[in-house]
């Protein structure tokens, strides 16, 4: 990436951070949650470019959140960096195990099995009294390298961390997609047999992507847990994973920025809808999903590409 682009991104990052801090509390709260979810969707997009739709990213989103919660509540560890490290490590290990089975499958099997695994976690959490069952439990305020801010400071801290994560991970993801590994995803989607004949291991390629996606989902979950101060099993429920898929389709897989922007849009729309039409949110999502599939299968980013006169990439 050129020095100029890097500089521009740095400026954009700082601007986003400052802008976020200046927003009224409820807005910066929403913004932070949106960024967390955006990271989950970024991981999902990596998988979708390889032709795999996971209906179970909620598993790692929830794991990331619960690890964060448990560390602050039961182990009295509140340092943001430590928490992130722990939640990512834990989720990556779980993903490495589950992936051994899951990544042998494609298409509907992959979609449904991934959903099944997140529902298994949901089932386990709901029956677990220590972790609060369906109510979940509260998460204490995070700190950073010894600095322990009060509640408002904590929200700002998480916002800042989220912005930092979004920009650095976004840049890394962008570079990843331009590497052999990134292109390999599309090769897998287009022609697995050919890839094997070229000496590529399709399983390995998918396995790595699955683990990366899990890590990103865990980070998203941690961010959500820390800013909202609460975790509950709903995060592993199929509806949560379904939302991630919806946001991914809404944004499209064309660029690493698409999932983040789509997530912000989604959260804004959801906030508006819950004020105006609270009992029909799912129905609205359903119709919107159909509309996207029928009219905008490459997501909103395809509109950006059309504006730039590029051909929109193939829909998942």
């Amino acid at each position: 990436m050129s020095k100029r682009s890097l500089a521009l991104l740095l400026i954009l990052g700082v601007a986003t951070l400052v802008g976020g801090l200046l927003l009224p509390n409820w807005m910066s709260y929403l913004f932070t949650i949106a960024m967390g979810k955006g990271l989950v969707v970024l991981g999902l997009v990596l998988l979708m470019r390889a032709g795999l739709v996971s209906f179970g990213q909620g598993l790692y989103y929830c794991l990331g959140a619960y690890v964060a919660g448990m560390l602050t509540q039961f182990a009295e560890v509140t340092d943001v960096l430590l928490i992130l490290l722990a939640s990512v490590s834990f989720s990556v290990v779980i993903a490495a195990i589950i992936g051994l089975l899951l990544c042998r499958y494609r298409e509907i099997f992959f979609a449904m099995f991934s959903m099944a695994f997140s529902m298994i976690l949901y089932g386990l959490l709901v029956r677990n009294q220590v972790l609060g069952s369906t109510d979940g439990f509260n998460v204490a305020n995070p700190s950073l390298l010894g600095w322990a801010p009060g509640p408002e400071g904590a929200s700002n801290l998480v916002l800042a961390v989220a912005v930092l994560l979004v920009f650095t991970l976004g840049i890394l993801a962008w570079r990843y997609l331009k590497s052999l590994s990134g292109y390999a995803g599309e090769a897998v989607r287009e022609n697995e047999i050919r890839l094997e004949y070229l000496g590529g291991s399709v399983f390995k390629i998918i396995y790595v992507k699955y683990i990366i996606a899990a890590g990103l989902a865990a980070i998203g979950g941690t961010v959500t847990a820390l800013v909202s101060g609460h975790v509950d099993p709903e995060m592993a429920y199929w509806t949560t994973s379904g939302e991630f898929v919806f946001i991914a389709l809404m944004g499209g897989t064309g660029h690493v920025a698409a999932p983040i922007i789509a997530a912000v849009l989604f959260e804004s729309l959801r906030t508006y809808a819950s004020a105006v039409a609270p009992y029909t949110w799912q129905m609205i999502l359903g119709f919107a999903l159909l509309a996207i599939i029928l009219f905008l299968p490459s997501g909103l980013w395809s509109l950006v590409e059309r504006f730039q006169n590029k051909k929109p990439r193939k829909a998942p």
Partner: protein
């Protein structure tokens, strides 16, 4: 010994319930190559229609045993109507698309139906316990069983036989099996694939709704009851082999027994056990037990 009997009976009852639910799902997949995520909503639809009609029926003070007819009739009517609507109004425009896209489409239908059910019936639970209690109980070897559950086993056997007869002895059934094996050739042979698709989807939806209605008397009908059903039904169908009805039967038995064992011995791992069993079967037969063969690609 007593526990073993309890597990066997519970397992059989649960297996019957699973079979009725899964049969519709696997039929639709086998013929149309669509994994119908909204199957759970049809289940819920059947439960709500059945339960609410039964509730109304008993308030009119009519003959008690006819409530079964009301239960089943309401569910079938709702399932068939909505099934027809969904297939003719939406799905038939999407055939030929990627399988995963079809999941997303049926997922959208699921979302819409879930809220539609909430709008029509509200969020309070429904109870239609009368058919359940009406049949009384049986005491055997120190255990008490509800006769309704035995009836459920009987109904599932009936449905199984009806499906077997329909697929193997009737002309339309044989056409269905041709389509299951090769949709393109079927079309080339002049089979009206579009009509068969409609029939299949409506039957699948109807059976799904029926499953819901039959379950309703045993528990409370609440929002979201359809969702967990999909996860279970999928496990059953995958174990048996997508598209195979006999597979669904065997899968239902395996899952039913596994789950009953878990529930009696270590309840927390119920769902985990079911998926562990599925993982085990797939480790040895990745296509499921009775899968339809796939042709070579290169």
């Amino acid at each position: 010994m007593k526990q073993l009997l309890a597990i066997l009976v519970d397992g059989s009852v649960y297996a019957s319930w699973l079979f009725i639910i899964s049969a519709g799902l696997t039929l639709i997949y086998g013929v149309m190559r669509i994994l119908n995520m909204s199957h759970g909503s049809f289940y819920a639809l059947g439960a709500y229609s059945g339960a609410s009609m039964v509730g109304w029926y008993f308030s009119t003070g009519s003959v008690p045993w006819l409530s079964f007819v009301v239960l089943i009739g309401a569910a079938l009517a709702a399932g068939v109507t909505v099934g027809l609507l969904v297939e003719r109004g939406l799905l038939r425009f999407m055939y030929g698309r990627d399988e995963v896209v079809m999941i997303l489409v049926t997922y959208a239908v699921l979302l819409i139906m879930e809220d539609a059910i909430k709008l029509i019936w509200g969020v309070e639970p429904y109870f239609a316990y009368q058919p359940y209690t009406m049949l009384g109980r049986t005491k055997f070897m120190g255990l008490t069983f509800a006769n309704y559950d035995f009836m459920l086993i009987g109904v599932s056997i009936l449905i199984g036989l009806a499906l077997w007869y329909g697929l193997n002895r009737t002309r339309n059934g044989k056409l269905l099996r041709v389509i299951i094996h090769d949709r393109e050739i079927a079309g080339a042979l002049g089979i009206n694939v579009s009509k068969i698709f409609t029939i299949t989807f409506v039957i699948g939806a109807g059976i799904g709704a029926l499953a819901g209605a039959l379950t309703a008397p045993g528990l409370s009908v609440v929002p979201g009851m359809g969702i967990e059903v999909i996860v279970l039904a999928f496990a059953v169908v995958v174990i048996g082999g997508l598209g195979s009805i006999s597979g669904a039967l065997v899968g239902a038995l395996i899952v039913g027994m596994a789950r009953a064992t878990a529930v009696h011995l270590y309840p927390e791992v119920e769902l985990f056990v079911i998926y562990a069993v599925m993982g085990l079967v797939l480790a040895f037969r990745p296509q499921g037990l009775f899968a339809v063969a796939n042709a070579r690609k290169i």
